[in-house]
Symmetry: C2
Subunit: 326 residues, 2 copies
Amino acid sequence: MSVTEFDIIRRYFARQPVSRKDVLVGVGDDAAVLQLPAGQELLVCMDTLVAGVHFPLATPAAAIGHKALAVNLSDLAAMGAEPAWATLALTLPEPDPDWLEAFASGFFALAGRHGVQLIGGDITRGPLSATVQVHGFAPPRQSLLRLGAQPGDRIYVTGTLGDAALALRLPESAAAELRSRLDYPEPRLEAGRLLRGLASAVIDISDGLLADLGHLLEGDDLGASLQVDELPRSAGFGAALQRLDSAPAGLYYELPLSGGDDYELCFSVPEHSCAEVERRLGELPCGCTAIGSIEAQPGIRCYLQDGTGYQPRETGYLHFAGGAHG
Amino acid sequence: MSVTEFDIIRRYFARQPVSRKDVLVGVGDDAAVLQLPAGQELLVCMDTLVAGVHFPLATPAAAIGHKALAVNLSDLAAMGAEPAWATLALTLPEPDPDWLEAFASGFFALAGRHGVQLIGGDITRGPLSATVQVHGFAPPRQSLLRLGAQPGDRIYVTGTLGDAALALRLPESAAAELRSRLDYPEPRLEAGRLLRGLASAVIDISDGLLADLGHLLEGDDLGASLQVDELPRSAGFGAALQRLDSAPAGLYYELPLSGGDDYELCFSVPEHSCAEVERRLGELPCGCTAIGSIEAQPGIRCYLQDGTGYQPRETGYLHFAGGAHG
């Protein structure tokens, strides 16, 4: 007797930690039926993780379940939204019970922490990949967009940069802390909501700081200067870099600038709101760090502490540029 | 210079036929921002098509674009919903311009006919697959569910069954009409909306009539009897079956019962509403046909015209049962 899609849904995805009152019909019909809140706008985003492209083949199933949801919640965080519902399209070579159990546990642990209910999806046979779509809400006209930065605005990032990219270069046993930044990124949802009404533009960093800051700037035809010594690096990052035998020179700068997979927020703040932003985000574990400022001249210019220019070697992850990412 | 995800979105997915007023922020930010209608419920569904599993590798790109959206709109049709927005997660081995142009043309031609705007998604590198999520609306408590059939209700299907499954068994040059049923299924959205308030339960047929009718019955622990000579077959179906050299016996019954890929609606109607359903759907090109009735005893029983029982060989598509579907 073969395992069907319906068996898998019943066995692994029916028990979930969140049960929202606005879900009138959840998993199991042709579509989910949802009650809409008055006076809110709906935010929707969708991201796919492909095995061997977005995560190493050896990644634990629980981490894949976590990360498939986390990268989407990170997009909602960058909009300042409150998450609500998720759908999951999971493509699997074969239905391995242990793998499915672990994937679901990783997915639901994160969903539970943020009040997100799984409302539907699809399970298909094929090369391993997971596409998640999340839905969230924000008050009218309060979503944080990529557009809106102004010359003179200060540029900040939450948390630390480069940890995930460094973890990929280390043996798996080393640096468990860095590896958890790669496998279990924490979407900065609370930081995003605290930025409503204060940040002029926000994006989340998935492809690397330079690439994603570039997207924030390009719509307004702006540029930026970055102080690359100021980029926030974790204690574990510095220690692991010391222990790398043959680290190519410049990793200390390159990984935070273009390593990617950080899932931190990068945002611009008008001068008069910087103190309030620093106060609010200073109360969160991730905090925030000023790293540069928006300029009228297009392009991103990097500077060392002594004021000399720094020329980055990479500018970030190009999706079809060849070479597996992750 | 490599092609990036952003180039692809700009080149192939930026020009689209539908521009809805309720899309405040569409493709291009971290998430879409959407205005919600008052007094409506939101319906959400998501389906994945994997190359070699859900469609033959030789399928034209325009057909894949059409079908990836159509199978989702078919789910909304089965709920009686009005479609509004779609997201697309497209995974591609490489960005072939001709392929992308054709895929987008197939997707947008169907989207345009039903007023659906693409609001976001993701383009990734990997084995070919397309996941689409669609969003639609229905008035409160008027969505058509799988639950709700009652013993004595008549069972109907829209259109004709078995065409797509037969097309898969024919050389590509033969039977263009049948092949278009396989490659370009038409979601029965208008039929679904006309069934609001009349049908007691509705499902769309993707895995085959027996499998999907089974899903409609199982939640209420009901059964059904089917008149297998009454199953609607197209003129092209009968003619092509005649020309098959070595058709296994029983295809005349088996393909409409379990071939799958029909994307017709199967629904139950209380006796007192049957005349009104037949009048309403009789005005659509697809029409509808009564094929049996709901019974209290679980299980599906098939009968020939002379009243003798018919035992189907297959019961429908099992998602992990081995053997590529399509």
